[in-house]
Symmetry: C2
């Protein structure tokens, strides 16, 4: 297994190693004929450049690090996908890690990334930025926080406006003529949930005749949605809401199933329903469920853009990009 390096290529092509490097990195600096010869040699020897040596010289690698909270969550995989693709356009690769919300796992990824001298770090943080992030910055590795606004605004961030999302959802329900609205979600300690509720109540209070009932669940799951949905379905018709805004699509799907099983409430005729996240299942439910879509891929792309900007040392000031979620209207909310 003889190791093939620029040296061997140079020898075969009858040029110096410097020229080989030029062919690889500044093709314009080299004559077409020699370039061809060198390429032929590369091909013939099956030369693959050693990235370690390259980045040792360059000082930093052609990779960026990305830490997400959960691999199983479509939101984060969408984010990763967007980041991945944008990075590839700039010839960067993405090292993906997931922290499972664990601070120590996040920390070990950050250490790894620093050892690798990554170009920059995209982080969906499990906690407030700690000393590790500061050190990254001190070492010239920029970081961009995704999906979480930090109280520490000195790090750039890319996030989505959940308050606005909540307001949009309820606004849509109001526009359909609904007035007795129920918010189903919880636990309220999750910031995303409380933000969505916040937006919902804002929108509701803008319409004098509207009321907002808050029904909390212990987890954002189909089962919980179904449980609460059943309770609502069995209420006296006069006491039932005429619209439900669920804190995510799983809960919405549970509510929908409960209504279908109980059969007392027809969706969308008697009750409008809207969820949040626009997961694939929402659109393929028995009654396609309206939802609020977060531009996941776009967020990933933008995060990379911001990162590159910081890496180029351009703007010293941190940027905070906030995306507006998008209303996706389907059958469940239209009458």
């Amino acid at each position: 297994m003889a190791t093939i390096g620029v040296k061997e290529v140079a020898a075969l092509a009858g040029v110096s190693i410097g020229t080989v490097s030029n062919v690889l990195n500044r093709p314009d600096k080299v004559t077409e004929a020699t370039a061809a010869r060198v390429h032929a040699a590369i091909e013939q020897l099956g030369f693959i450049r050693n990235d370690a040596a390259r980045q040792l010289r360059a000082g930093s690698s052609r990779a960026i690090g990305l830490v997400i909270l959960d691999v199983a969550n479509p939101f984060f995989t969408g984010l990763a996908r967007g980041a991945q693709e944008r990075a590839a356009e700039s010839g960067l690769s993405v090292i993906l890690g997931y922290s499972d919300e664990k601070v120590e796992r996040e920390a070990s990824y950050l250490d790894l990334f620093e050892e690798q001298r990554v170009h920059g770090v995209l982080l969906s943080p499990a906690a407030e930025p700690g000393p590790r992030l500061e050190r990254l910055r001190a070492h010239g590795i920029p970081a961009v926080l995704v999906d979480r606004l930090s109280t520490d605004t000195s790090f750039s961030s890319v996030s989505v406006d959940d308050i606005r999302g909540g307001a949009t959802a309820v606004g849509h329900l109001l526009a359909q003529g609904r007035r007795r609205i129920a918010f189903i979600g919880g636990p309220l300690t999750i910031r995303q949930v409380s933000d969505r509720l916040h937006g919902a109540s804002e929108a509701a209070s803008a319409e004098p005749r509207a009321s907002l009932e808050v029904v909390t669940v212990s987890a954002l799951t189909v089962a919980e949605g179904r449980r609460v949905g059943r309770q609502i379905a069995r209420r006296d018709p006069a006491a039932r809401p005429d619209a439900v805004f669920a804190a995510n699509d799983l809960v919405a799907l549970g509510v929908l199933e409960a209504m279908l099983i109980e059969g007392t409430v027809k969706i969308p005729e008697q009750m409008s329903l809207i969820g949040y996240d626009d997961i694939g299942f929402a659109g393929s439910a028995m009654v396609p469920v309206s939802s609020i879509r977060q531009p996941m891929a776009l967020m990933g792309q933008t995060a990379v853009d911001v990162l590159m900007e910081e890496a180029s040392g351009a703007g010293r000031a941190a940027q905070h990009v906030v995306f507006q979620p998008e209303l996706v209207v389907r059958e469940s909310s239209q009458r």
Copy 2:
């Protein structure tokens, strides 16, 4: 942004750079007192070793490459998770890429991995092994194929026995006393689907009184399952199967929904239903759906194990590990 290297650490600790390296890599070779001094210096300076330089010297990196077909597929994310965790135990990190079934994307990842001089490659291949894999091997980088048995048995592989899975599913239905069984799945050009059907028909033919009807769908989606399910629900009761084996859980969920809406067939009383993959939704459906679970995480772990074995140069012969899928019985198939 002064760059901190072993040199600076050595200077501060009053030792040579060689000693610093020893402290880091062979702590036993060094006196406790000096080790303490060096560690103090490292701490004080915030030294992080440069992995590029390290691996330049070492010849290969502390990472393995993993290419999966699809980020959104829980099977692959489970696989990635298992691989990730097993690799971390050995101090290796995983570079994750996804090919979207595109050969050229797969190829570009393999090139990247080779530039990075990864320890090894785990590949869920989009096509038959090509020259790139051969070259990897020629360069001393082992590769393990996951989830796809290759006709080229010279590469090690870790896969799951879909034929057996199909047989298990139908065997379970037969054990429940069902005889008129329908297989719903497609397109049959997908090997996984045809394997499952193959196993299903094997199991069915072992029971003389059993019949197996094959209903093909154009895609493994909820919508397709629902469409076909509706047709079946509307058949004359005598012409209806008494059990359905869906090629994956999405289709099974669609079938379930159709039965619930049409109301003509009760699951599980009048018809047993079983899916495949055991995605999270299967267990939380209105009627929890039985399924065939593939040991995703275990496959990932095992793939890494096999890889490490090959990397250590031990066994020259390729290994082929085949996992047996597991039957998960829930309400939808029990009467």
